[in-house]
Amino acid sequence: MKARVTVTLKSGILDPQGKAIEGALKSLGVSGVASVRQGKVFDIEIEDGNKAKAEAALKAAAEKLLANTVIENYRIELL
């Protein structure tokens, strides 16, 4: 089973990397970009076919390591 965990910065947390990318897009002449926030995507292969167990494992992975919940939110998707 394939899964994806997306980690994004909480709103209100300064994201200087996102700001720099936003600036670069503007200087490239890409129009209509209001703002950019950078995040991370983890594509994870799950051994077991059990959906509930997979979700529990992914939640543990996100809470324990993939996201720092002081500054980041995470979203789990089973693909």
Partner: protein, 233 residues
């Protein structure tokens, strides 16, 4: 003072730290590999040194914070043992939950490598007893992610609880935007936990302890720690 310096893959300041601990306390520290599950018996002080553990993969300090030795460090801190984290060590202590908050990318995105001035906010902790409150010291920094941040409630608790031990300042001790090298909340360069036995700081006091380097302002931190144990023994 029996100290233990933790060693993670990618750490590169552990020998500076060990040299300073030996110079100031007279005792060679134990170097403790990350895969160990116990600290040497009789350890007084655990130091998490600077560097780039695991190449800063995922987030600075995130992977080192989950290493086997960190359970032993947590148990040691729970019993009141003293723990000091410098630079990447500060990031590791925040990621491990031993200190509040997190260290984000410097606000101006640049890696900052130079001497800075710090105002010592308190002299009544084991880590700052070698200084006077309000004293200004000069020590080097070398980091790209030293911008300390936390949620509003945590910041309030840290400030009201007097947990800030060092702030970036001008040479005369004035705080302000120009001396805040990385955009950190309220100029915070170093904090302690609520109990006062775990400290973290971004600057490197271990690099300013010998007159041949041109500055010995970092010595007070280690001399204070050594004095703490000299008195207890």
């Amino acid at each position: 003072m029996k100290s233990a310096v933790l060693v993670f893959p990618g750490i590169n300041r552990e020998r500076d730290m060990a040299r300073t601990l030996r110079l100031v306390s007279g005792v060679q520290p134990a170097m403790v590999w990350h895969a160990e599950t116990e600290l040497p018996a009789g350890t007084d002080l655990v130091v998490v040194p600077g560097g780039f553990s695991y190449g800063d993969y995922l987030r600075c300090g995130a992977i080192a914070a989950r290493a086997p030795i960190m359970d032993a460090v947590r148990a040691f801190a729970e019993k009141g043992g003293l723990v000091l984290g410098v630079c990447n060590g500060f990031q590791i202590l925040c990621e491990s939950g031993l200190l509040p908050g997190v260290l984000m990318r410097n606000a101006r995105l640049k890696f900052v490598c130079r001497d800075v001035h710090l105002r010592v906010e308190r002299s009544d902790t084991p880590f700052t007893r070698g200084y006077n409150a309000g004293q200004v010291i000069r020590v080097p920094v070398a980091h790209g992610e030293g911008n300390w941040i936390a949620d509003a409630e945590t910041i309030r608790r840290v400030e009201d609880g007097g947990q800030v031990i060092f702030r970036y300042c001008a040479p005369d001790g004035e705080l302000g935007e120009t001396s805040n090298i990385n955009g950190t909340t309220n100029g915070i360069a170093g904090i302690v936990n609520a109990r006062g036995n775990v400290a973290g700081m971004m600057p490197h006091p271990e690099n300013h302890v010998e007159s041949i380097i041109g500055c010995t302002d970092g010595r007070g931190l280690f001399a204070g720690l050594a004095a703490q144990f000299g008195k207890a023994a």
